[in-house]
């Protein structure tokens, strides 16, 4: 199916799935180790500052693996982030407006998403902090529910 929005079907990487993510770091958050792979320094910096409980951690073992792709979109997102949360059994989807989303599978600990990278470093950094904060704020109660066994799959 033609899924390239610029009208180029089957042009290699239609959904930008294979963008190279050369940067990675591991964080301790809520007692879990999260490995984050990304193509943006701003995302890793934001991860370190998005939640007061987030700490840099060794990467010898990880509980969750997240991949976050930063890209400059064709359309500029709304100035304020709206976050819509969709829960489908063990998967949580965070819709943060055009060009931004994050999905998390509580069964595997895998997460992935796209974040708006702006032309200016300052704007990119500010947006990345908001994006990561939203993810952590929304996942925290869900992970807690899971720990307590109240999460409905």
């Amino acid at each position: 199916m033609s899924t390239g929005h610029n009208g180029t079907p089957a042009s290699g990487d239609m959904m930008h799935r294979r963008k190279v993510l050369a940067l990675n770091a591991c964080f301790l958050w809520e007692g879990r180790r999260i490995a984050i792979r990304t193509n943006s320094v701003a995302v890793l910096r934001a991860a370190a500052s998005a939640d007061s409980d987030m700490r840099i951690a060794p990467s010898d073992r990880v509980d969750m693996q997240w991949e976050i792709v930063a890209e400059i979109p064709d359309i500029v997102p709304r100035s304020r982030l709206n976050c819509r949360v969709v829960r489908d059994r063990g998967t949580v989807y965070l819709d943060m407006g055009p060009s931004q989303w994050f999905a998390f599978d509580s069964e595997t600990g895998n997460g992935a998403g796209f974040v708006y990278g702006a032309e200016s470093d300052e704007e990119t950094a500010e947006n990345a902090v908001q994006y990561l904060s939203l993810i952590l704020n929304h996942l925290k109660p869900i992970l807690l529910e899971e720990e307590q066994g109240t999460w409905q799959r």
Binding site: M1, S2, T3, G4, H5, N6, G7, T8, P9, A10, D13, M14, M15, H16, R17, R18, E67, V69, P73, D74, I75, R80, L81, N82, C83, R84, V85, V86, R87, D88, R89, G90, T91, Y93, D95, G97, P98, S99, W101, A103, D105, E107, T108, N110, A112, G113, F114, L134, Q152
Partner: protein, 333 residues
């Protein structure tokens, strides 16, 4: 910062089974209207009497009361790992967890009421993305059936697949699809199936098909200006939902008038089809490998390369003369 939440368990009012490329899919929705569209476009399966292992995938479609807001840059598709998102407007979105083989859609009432949009854009996108997870390989090819066989016309966009498919349809072939065809293994045999989509023809196709002059062009999903018409209503063609694949034709425009058909190795045809399948990595790598295997199951099909730049009726006549016996199995009998 505004937040809103929705959960599938709060709203589902009807559930039904549908068959996509022979795969049993469970659809759940809060909108009987959506269930009706599914019944119009896909064969049903009876979940109550089917005691097999369960559905190959589950789709939940939720219709909300909000308006659909317009926005630039849509549709917008992105995927990473096992996840994917298809946004048709800021308020109309499909979410995929391909590892779990689950799809969740949230749509406005305005889009829910637009039956043609579901047929032309939403269902093809949904099943196109889901395909790999349920061992279905979508290939960029038109498909037509004849007797017990069928032929794939494989080529990039703009080569003339749709035009040739209509011309073959007018010669007695049964129309299955004009752009994307889904291949899947059913009871040990590869079968092709299509989406319930209109045939898409570029504006200049009315040179060959005067029937188009009573229709208007519009903007298609990939942004092209095109006629999108029912092959049954516009051209009086027969339509079929699935067929076996006995012949593969690779189409190439030459820029010089004429039509030349030559037999090629299966490996050459297979490589062409495989190159059209999106490689998947990580947790979906095995899905991609199985899609490649599906293509290799086509071995035994007759394979040809067609170079052409000619009136589609002339090309269809020559193609039928050379490949028709293969498609109808007469060549080997």
């Amino acid at each position: 910062m505004q937040n809103s939440h929705m959960e599938e368990r709060e709203f589902v009012v009807c559930a039904q089974g549908l068959l996509f490329a022979g795969r049993q899919i469970l659809l759940r929705t809060n909108a009987p209207k959506i269930a009706g569209y599914v019944s119009d476009f896909f064969p049903a399966y009876d979940m109550a009497t089917d005691h097999s292992a369960g559905p190959a995938a589950e789709i939940t479609l939720m219709i909300t009361e909000g308006e659909s807001t317009a926005g630039d840059g849509f549709p917008w598709f992105r995927g990473r790992g096992e996840f994917a998102v298809a946004q048709f407007t800021p308020d109309d979105t499909l979410w995929f967890n391909l590892r779990a083989r689950r799809v969740f859609g949230s749509f406005s009432a305005a889009v829910a009421n637009d039956r043609e949009r579901w047929r032309r854009h939403i269902f093809p996108t949904l099943f196109g993305i889901l395909a790999a997870a349920v061992d279905v390989a979508p290939v960029h090819a038109a498909c037509l059936a004849r007797d017990t066989g069928g032929l794939l016309l494989a080529a990039p966009s703009g080569t003339g697949k749709s035009t040739l498919a209509v011309a073959l349809g007018r010669r007695g072939y049964t129309f299955l699809s004009d752009d994307w065809t889904c291949l899947a293994l059913e009871e040990g045999v590869i079968r092709a199936s299509g989406f319930p989509m209109p045939v898409k023809l570029l504006p200049d196709a009315d040179r060959f098909f005067p029937e188009l002059r009573s229709y208007r062009t519009g903007i298609s999903l990939n942004g092209e200006l095109a006629f999108e018409v029912s092959p049954v209503d516009c051209f009086g063609l027969q339509r079929v939902r699935s067929c076996a694949v006995t012949c593969i034709i690779l189409l190439e425009r030459t820029g010089r008038t004429g039509c030349d058909i030559s037999e090629i190795d299966f490996d050459e045809a297979a490589q062409h089809l495989i190159a059209e399948i999106e490689p998947l990595e990580g947790s979906l790598a095995a899905c991609y490998e199985r899609q490649i295997d599906l293509i290799h199951h086509l071995k035994g099909a007759a394979c040809f390369r067609l170079h052409f730049d000619e009136n589609p009726d002339v090309v269809a006549e020559e193609l039928d003369a050379v490949c028709g016996p293969w498609i109808r199995h007469e060549h080997r009998s």
